[in-house]
């Protein structure tokens, strides 16, 4: 048993330790607390990258927590997809944390850093676990932490939105538990791989229950992913959240998508009887509508943060359009676009904040404010972020959308898909251009804002996010190759079954 063998659990342990420590030191020694938080994020990134390297050859690491063999204990499964999500999370976390610290947003209320670390623990756990109930637990961890973070800074708007966000998710959790109970009652197991094998043996008499359970579970994931019509909770929640937090939340809807990608092929794939590919008839239409609504929202929104929030919805829709294909090509395209859209939306939230901090009373709303220092620079950041979010060249979103277009061309409904993807891009472009030109070009009567100019340090985080997008475009060849490999791995549940269950898999 060497240190390397514990690799899969590190991304969970690191924040789980960092959180209580920051909690203990924060009150007296701020700097140390922030230091711990940053170090923890870097360590997480390191662990993620190590895992990425480790699994890039196709190996699937299975880590039996408590050394109880799967399916009896909880097992962590690190494959290409998990590693990808972990690295993505860690990088995003660094960006968000950087912004929070630089803009001192972390001081606007209690316990930002412990909550932040716990949030990351929940995310990493959700990406790693190979056990359905454990997935529920980690969902709850990341949710309760997100409640705290979403309310960070408080104020009426956040509290109002908070009530709705929390209640909706509580209902979601309730449904999750019902689905779990039903699945356990039918299959007698909680381990995903094991359940994938057991569903094949479900007698005809229980097929109805099986399908119901599957539909309930999928609908929970759809709620987390904010798929129309279950997306209503998202827009205001994200728009009012502290920008650094909102940036981190860019990954939250992706958790729902991830869960779909992870669970459907593994548990409800071929041979799942009545539950085979259970979301199939609904996912594509819902995704198309979601994408449409999202970018229509971008078009209709009246402030940068609101646009960012709707862009999250739109990007999730676009992403799920590809997922709904359930082929290696489409899933690969989806994974590439997932990474891209996460950073793009995060960048939007951050740029919106940078602008709002400079426009004083005008915030990031489309009302023309006085000129402010570095307007064209911030404007340039916004344009880049907007290009990325809409998927125009030369940023990675373009490549992502090309991948999706190309991979979906073979599918029966490609006409709809293409129409929506290209159409939403246009709506998005127009929307961003309007609000952007109002915020960054139009000067209201009365010149520069009479406030002390803000140091441009707060541009660091958004610039970093955009730089990552540039890298993602430059390295698109490698990235999409990895994404395809990850997709292929996910779509072959036998692989992970063998890795997790060993000889039990037969």
């Amino acid at each position: 048993m060497t240190f390397a063998d514990h690799l899969p659990i590190l991304p969970i342990i690191i924040p789980a330790l960092a959180a209580p420590f920051t909690l203990l030191v924060m009150r007296r020694r701020r700097a140390i607390g922030v230091g711990i938080a940053l170090v923890s994020c870097v360590a997480m990134l390191a662990a993620g990258l190590a895992m990425l390297v480790r699994v890039s050859d196709g190996t699937i690491l299975a880590y039996a927590v408590g050394q109880w063999p799967a399916p009896f204990g909880v097992v962590l499964v690190a494959d290409r997809l998990a590693a990808l999500m972990l690295v993505l999370t860690a990088v995003l976390a660094l960006i968000a944390l950087l912004h929070a610290v630089v803009t001192r947003a972390d001081r606007k209320g209690w316990h930002f850093h412990p909550l932040f670390q716990f949030q990351l623990m929940g995310l990493n756990g959700a990406f790693l676990t190979g056990d359905l109930f454990n997935l529920f637990v980690f969902f709850e961890v990341l949710l309760i932490a997100s409640y705290g973070l979403m309310l960070h800074g408080q104020g009426p708007a956040r509290l109002k939105a908070g009530v709705q966000y929390v209640v909706v998710n509580l209902v979601g959790s309730a449904v999750f538990l019902i689905a779990l109970g039903l699945l356990y009652a039918i299959t007698g197991t909680l381990n995903m791989a094991d359940m994938g094998l057991k569903v094949a043996m479900v007698p005809p008499a229980d097929q109805g229950l099986l399908r119901i359970a599957a539909l309930l579970l999928v609908s929970v994931f759809a709620l987390k992913a904010a798929v129309a019509p279950l997306h209503l909770w998202l827009a205001r929640t994200y728009a009012v959240a502290t920008p650094a937090v909102a940036a981190l939340f860019a990954i939250m809807t992706k958790v729902g998508v991830y869960a779909l990608i992870r669970v459907v092929p593994q548990v409800f794939g071929e041979g799942a009887g009545a539950a085979a590919w259970v979301p199939a008839p609904y996912l594509l239409p819902a995704a198309l509508v979601t994408a449409g609504i999202g970018f229509a929202g971008v078009f209709a929104a009246r402030s940068l943060s609101e646009q960012a929030a709707y862009a999250v919805i739109g990007s999730t829709g676009t992403l799920l359009i590809a997922v709904a294909g359930w082929t290696t090509a489409t899933l690969g395209a989806a994974l590439y676009y997932l990474v891209h859209s996460t950073f793009a939306c995060a960048a939007l939230f951050l740029v919106a904040d940078v602008a709002a901090r400079r426009r004083g009373p005008f915030g990031d709303s489309a009302a023309p404010g006085p000129e402010f220092a570095g307007r064209s620079a911030v404007g340039l950041l916004f344009i880049t972020a907007a290009i990325a979010a809409t998927g125009l060249p030369p940023v990675s979103g373009f490549i992502g959308k090309l991948l999706i277009l190309k991979s979906t061309a073979a599918l029966p409904d490609w006409g709809w898909t293409w129409g929506v993807i290209l159409g939403t891009t246009l709506i998005g472009v127009i929307g961003f251009a309007r609000v952007g030109s109002a915020v960054f070009w139009q000067a209201a009567p009365g010149d520069k804002i009479p406030r002390a100019p803000i140091s441009s340090a707060d541009c660091a985080a958004p610039v970093l996010a955009l730089a990552l997008l540039a890298a993602l475009s430059a390295g698109a060849g490698w990235a999409s190759a990895y994404a395809d490999a990850a997709a292929a791995q996910v779509l072959d549940p036998a692989l992970s079954a063998r890795a997790v269950l060993g000889e039990r898999a037969r």
């Binding site: 309310l151 408080q154 009426p156 959790s173 538990l177 309007r434």
Partner: protein, 133 residues
Amino acid sequence: MSYEFLVASGIGVLVAGGIFLALRARTFQVVLGLTLLSYAVNLFLFASGRLVIGRPPIWDAVRGGAMREYTDPLPQALVLTAIVITFGMTAFVVILALRSFLETGSDHVDGDIAGRDAPDEIADDAKAQAERP
């Protein structure tokens, strides 16, 4: 009348009550609704181990470690976890509701606010003509 019917119908009634209350407009009613829902969910999860009388999953020398001697312990463990989590969530939402009431002066679930706060049209389009020299 079988126990199975009593439990199942009980769950159903709790769910119905929960959904109805969750759809009310006052935070406190919604909290009550969520409470009912969580009772129902815990019972449901518990029921996934079926109903067994007089065989608690506690080892004794006589019965040893044979599955059939005991009721299914796993759902019980899951429910325990669920109860704890639900308690945490309920506590949080209760206090959030109270806090939002204190902040906004209304215990309406939407804080008595509908629509958005942002200006309704982009100034650029409206002011375009006016601005022209």
